[in-house]
């Protein structure tokens, strides 16, 4: 029964699926909001399709009229064919998925740099190595930065740790005193630069931060502060099935009634946002205490998860000093914006030379932070080894299956050679077979990894497909195929056609 089903799936359908899977999934990623888009090149599917065409046509060039024989040999034994494709899919999936998690982890280390929009330059003490390595500066540095040519504006940012105390109820419904270390961010009083972007504010609004003792708190770690809350009722991210189902039903109703999209029901994402607003509303107005000073939660936001598991609390710069024990210097960073028509990099150099401070563009600072964590903490490197291992395991499995396949076909290639097929043609046939399984495996693997990314999006898992991950996975698959092919080609080249007469 399953045999019949598999038999009816023609190889052409598989090729189509392999080409279209990454295309569709990447389009889905681009469409769904809130997904880090930085990582996915919009032209990746185009690149993939282009590479597919080039690879297939160059293989066809060698095989000429024999290409159909190569393809039939490849797909003749369905079980083996699926075995090879699965092996390569697995390899591509493993590499893309592990690579994405690795990139996601690395990116988290610099999450707080990425979170701050508007400013494009970070100015700091010359000895700061990464974003969590705060070395307070004297306040006058702010004015010195403002004086540099090419700086449109510059604002202060406080970043530090504070001890937050609050009275709440525990899981056992008994009163509970919670003391938690939090990351305190003091944003510029006037402009509020440094606070999360408006679309990340779930409850309340940015300007509420100007109210007396106002705090904005990150929803990610709230369960640590209020363990007694009914967290089982917190809204869950809409799953992929929900989203896909919604798009399909939406499409059908649109087709049927030609209704305008504005009249239709909210999407699962919109429903999720609404549910979040409804749920997190309850925290507004609750009182906390830091350094014997009162704080009132006026809003709940979503901060990018960082490596630290501490809750992130936003307040105003002028008020931050109350919440931490007395410190002589309070200025952690100066966030600056370059004037129109000036390159941020040039301005950064000018700031550095004029003030003796360190100035970096946001992207440079992110890179430095990630590099620091990469070098000095074991976590990324350990995880990198896992990634590498995934790569090797995937390579071994896929290479092995494909190599075995060609070795089993050696006698058939021998017959073809005896009948007058040139070595070049046979090599072309092997390359064509490798190309087809490689493209299918890559397409399906990357597609599945993307699916995994969409499903896990918004959860604890750091998943970020930085664009180099895709070509790296591609190169890996090409390597596997080329390596296995070369081994087989060597065997075929030295194959005496006379073997065909041996039993």
């Amino acid at each position: 029964m399953t045999d019949r089903v598999i038999n009816t799936i023609r190889p052409s359908a598989w090729i189509l699926a392999g080409v279209s899977t990454p295309l569709l999934l990447v389009l889905m990623i681009l469409k769904s909001r809130g997904v880090p888009m930085l990582g996915i090149l919009p032209w990746n599917p185009l690149l993939y399709a282009g590479a597919a065409l080039v690879a297939i046509f160059s293989a066809l060039l060698f095989t000429q009229q024999m290409s159909w024989i190569a393809l039939k040999m490849l797909t003749g034994d369905k079980a083996k064919f699926f075995g090879i494709v699965l092996g390569l899919t697995f390899a591509a999936l493993l590499i893309t998925q592990q690579g994405s998690i690795f990139c996601g982890l690395m990116r988290r280390t610099a999450g707080q740099v990425e979170d701050i929009r508007g400013a494009d330059l970070w100015v700091m003490d010359a000895n700061v190595r990464y974003v969590d390595d705060v070395k307070p500066m004297i306040e006058s540095n702010l004015y010195r930065v403002r004086g540099v040519e090419g700086v449109e504006w510059a604002v202060p940012l406080y970043k530090g740790n504070a001890r937050l105390k609050l009275k709440t109820i525990g899981r056992d419904k008994k009163p509970l005193d919670v003391i938690e270390q939090v990351i305190l961010l003091g944003v510029d009083d006037a402009s509020l630069v440094g606070s999360p972007p408006p679309e990340r504010i779930l409850v309340g609004s940015l300007t509420d931060l100007r109210k007396t003792d106002a705090l904005l708190i990150d929803f990610n770690r709230l369960p640590k502060l209020f363990p007694g809350e009914q967290w089982d009722q917190a809204p869950a991210m809409p799953g992929l099935r929900q989203k896909a189902g919604d798009s399909i039903s939406r499409w059908i109703t649109n087709l049927a009634s030609r209704a305008k999209s504005s009249e239709s029901l909210p999407t699962p994402d919109e429903q999720y946002r609404a549910a979040q607003r409804e749920f997190y509303k309850r925290f507004v107005g609750r009182e906390v205490e830091m350094n014997d000073h009162r704080g009132i939660i006026v809003g709940v936001c979503e901060a990018t998860r960082t490596f630290q598991s501490n809750p992130v609390v936003y307040t105003m710069y002028s008020r931050a000093k109350q919440y931490v024990p007395r410190e002589r210097k309070l200025l952690s960073y100066v966030l600056a914006k370059t004037a129109d028509g000036v390159k941020p990099g040039e301005v950064a150099e000018r700031i550095a030379s004029q003030t003796g401070l360190k100035a970096r563009t946001s992207w440079e600072f992110m890179k430095e932070t990630m590099w620091y964590y990469f070098q000095y903490t074991g976590i990324p490197i350990n995880f990198g080894i896992t990634t590498l291992l995934g790569f090797l395991v995937g390579t071994a499995i896929a290479g092995q299956t494909f190599y075995n396949f060609t070795i089993e076909n050696l006698k058939q290639f021998g017959s073809l050679k005896a009948m007058g097929a040139t070595n070049l043609r046979i090599v072309g046939m092997i390359l064509l077979q490798a190309t087809v399984v490689g493209l299918l495996g890559y397409g399906l693997g990357v597609g599945l990894a993307t699916l995994f990314g969409i499903v896990s999006q918004g959860g604890e898992l750091a998943f970020f497909t930085w664009w180099p991950v895709l070509p790296i996975a591609g190169v890996a698959i090409v390597l596997i195929c080329v390596l296995a092919s070369i081994l087989c080609i060597r065997r075929v080249m030295v194959l005496e056609p006379a073997v065909v007469f041996r039993g």
């Binding site: 000429q64 009229q65 024999m66 159909w68 024989i69 039939k72 040999m73 797909t75 003749g76 034994d77 006698k411 058939q412 017959s415 073809l416 050679k417 005896a418 009948m419 007058g420 097929a421 040139t422 043609r425 005496e496 056609p497 006379a498 065909v500 007469f501 041996r502 039993g503």
Partner: protein, 268 residues
């Protein structure tokens, strides 16, 4: 049709070599061919100075005990194995001096193969299998398969064109192999133990079919076998032993009678 039952052949210095009056009929001319395998202690002399002529319009048989070098000789003749010394001349061309590429090209045009284990590609249908030599020769798939179907029909396999090798009996598979070997009208057909994997009945049928379909005035057919039940299908029989050709005999008139359909017009 010229008959080659003239017994002057036997009285010639060596019966393996054609007398001058028959030289024009020679398709394959082998002189002093030797072939060794392995080195040192393991060195085996598979062919030890073979001289042999193969005529067009005939089925020539190579017989002899297992391991005497039959397959090796056939491989050398077919140009899929290089000999150590000696010359192989096919249709006036010194194939043993060809480059690999040229010999491969020569094979694809001039030689048809039939193997003991049929060697059909399991993923291809009977018609597609039979079409392979044409495809190697550069034909498009559809033209090649159409031509292969005609040949299969001529061999009584018209109904099995779409079957895969796994769905065919041994005899049917060997018939597909015969179609494949003839589809591109080669001038030389080489068959290694074509009946060894078949039962007696089927073996005879396959040999009959092979004779009928393959033997043409302008084509030489060489069959290697150690199956004494099919010896009588050969017009000339070359007996080998230990890498040498020990005896070449013409088929007797009594043996010829055993081959049914011999009076049919096979020279069409």
């Amino acid at each position: 049709m010229e008959t080659l039952t003239d017994h002057t052949v036997a009285s010639h210095q060596s019966p393996a070599i054609a007398p001058p009056e028959l030289a024009g009929n020679v398709a394959v001319k082998i002189r002093g061919v030797t072939k060794h395998f392995g080195r040192g202690e393991q060195r085996v002399t598979a062919l030890n100075g073979i001289d042999w002529d193969v005529y067009k319009g005939q089925m020539s048989m190579i017989i002899g005990p297992s391991g005497c070098g039959k397959t090796t000789l056939l491989s050398v003749i077919a140009g899929i194995l290089n000999c150590d010394s000696g010359s192989v001349n096919l249709f006036g061309e010194e194939v043993s001096r060809f480059s690999d590429g040229r010999r491969t090209k020569f094979r694809s045009v001039n030689i048809g193969f039939i193997f003991q284990q049929y060697n059909l590609l399991p993923a291809l249908t009977a018609a597609e299998n039979a079409a392979i030599p044409l495809v190697i020769g550069g034909w498009s798939k559809s033209r090649a398969v159409a031509r292969a179907c005609e040949v299969l029909e001529g061999l009584g396999m018209g109904k099995k064109k779409e079957s895969f090798p796994s769905q065919l009996s041994g005899g049917q598979q060997q018939r597909v192999a015969i179609a494949r070997s003839l589809v591109h009208s080669p001038r030389l057909l080489v068959c290694d133990e074509p009946t060894a994997a078949l039962d007696h009945e089927t073996g005879l049928t396959v040999m009959e079919m092979l004779r009928k379909a393959a033997v043409r005035p302008d084509r030489a057919v060489i069959v290697v076998t150690h199956d004494n039940r099919v010896f009588h299908f050969g017009d000339r029989i070359a007996r080998m032993d230990d890498g040498r050709m020990v005896e070449v005999t013409e088929r007797t008139a009594e043996e010829a009678v055993l081959v049914s359909g011999e009076q049919d017009d096979v020279a069409a």
